[in-house]
Symmetry: C2
Subunit: 306 residues, 2 copies
Amino acid sequence: MSHENKMALAIHGGAGTISKKDMTPEKERAYKDGLELAVIEGWKILEEGGTALDAVIRSTVVLEDNPLFNAGKGSVFTNQGTHEMDAALMDGKTLKAGCAAGISTVKNPILLANKIMLHSRHVLLAYGGAEEFAGRMNLEFADSEYFYTEFRYKKLLEAREKGLNKNTPDKAMGTVGAAACDREGNLAAATSTGGMTNKKPGRIGDTPIIGAGTYANNNTCAVSCTGDGEYIIRAVLAYDVSCLMEYKGLTLTEACKTALKKFGDMGGDGGLIAVDKFGNIEMPFNSAGMYRSSICTGEKIKSEIF
Amino acid sequence: MSHENKMALAIHGGAGTISKKDMTPEKERAYKDGLELAVIEGWKILEEGGTALDAVIRSTVVLEDNPLFNAGKGSVFTNQGTHEMDAALMDGKTLKAGCAAGISTVKNPILLANKIMLHSRHVLLAYGGAEEFAGRMNLEFADSEYFYTEFRYKKLLEAREKGLNKNTPDKAMGTVGAAACDREGNLAAATSTGGMTNKKPGRIGDTPIIGAGTYANNNTCAVSCTGDGEYIIRAVLAYDVSCLMEYKGLTLTEACKTALKKFGDMGGDGGLIAVDKFGNIEMPFNSAGMYRSSICTGEKIKSEIF
């Protein structure tokens, strides 16, 4: 098999939210099942000759629909008891991108990002304007009951009580994302998040920002990040991996390691998944854990948390 | 004089909005006077030993207060006859940043970006949440009367009539920005904009996005971009200049040229201003014109449009 034909799909379900001591075997199984379902669904698309773009969208939708992950249905609550979700998608072949920020009522924000990429003259739409666009695109909406999960609501109450607003072991760094390389060597990346528990309204993190949480370029790599959003923005983390490959000639492995080290030196905590055009996969993190799963041609699914 | 001591300040007032044939000598003088006032005010701060950060803020405030430029007072109208302004600020010494998007009522969005950098745990605040934060910071607010300029309102009416929503010679690519190097060799960049005439609500452009419209890093350069925001986002233009210097070892001149070429090859139209730690200045653009002005140690102010 030639390199050009090696396909790869990597996904993450967030970094740093769970400590080893809180992780029961049952919980671990549930998370891994959720991750594997998402990988299997995306992989089917690649195996059937579909595009990297369609695969990352599909995997991300499956993660958004799973209440265990902080995106879509499982999104955390803002300070005001509402939801503000962000998502981004980038096509490495065309360098086209679609991003949505501050979404409250769209069931799958990654599908909105896709519609923005395909049908809007803008790259990033936010809040009311984004929701209005979603309506015109006939996307499925969901009410606050759909986004209510008891577990997340308790986290909000706890956070409010403790006045949590900084880095703490409990901080919600949940994000989901996918990066893929298809049969043609095309790359794509997707990221979606419910943001931070107890966050102030109006905060936009790294997820919907091209170059920060999400980036894809057929010449280099596809990347989706998770972790301290503010540090990811300031480190321009996803594009940093790409630039280290393009301008410094590093391999995917070296580029990921170097970019994550710089991000960590700034004080950032988190991780990223990345795929290159040869079907190589990297999933480094400097946080306590990162929910992650991957598959590539000739290999079985691998899912890990720590 | 050693290299370390050479100071530099560059500003822009947007790219591509004015064609040579519409430019009367009076108009040209008015724009250049506006630019020069902004440069002089920022330069005073540098000469008195102030920081690059304070200098770029000051120059940007002067441009925001000038109705000729599309930022602050002179901001263009959205599709709905409202204003949605964006601004960003980055400190090259600390890599800290503050960004505001979708601002309607704050007189000087760049001052809000500064408050976000200094006093928020977030990097990017948008819409209501950002305005609420501005209130807590005791920033000056302004009503819609302040932001009304007859010239801009006429542009909206014209745009509505023509159904302008794409790249046209009339498109508003107005943005203002500043990049500086101070006596200590610290770099900073600031950008502020009123967005696009007749834009749909909720569109966020490149200006408030670190890496896209704005970036500063003492190791490389400070950059502020103007032009097609969607292309600037996809090209991660400001950080691209920095990466070309850091990872490829290019000079500021070569890095600006290379990054702008890539951006142009994607289809992007616009320009950027950039300053490095040696006090070098670059102000390239591929659009019809770019309002720009600069000064550095030992040289006089230079102001140009075409």
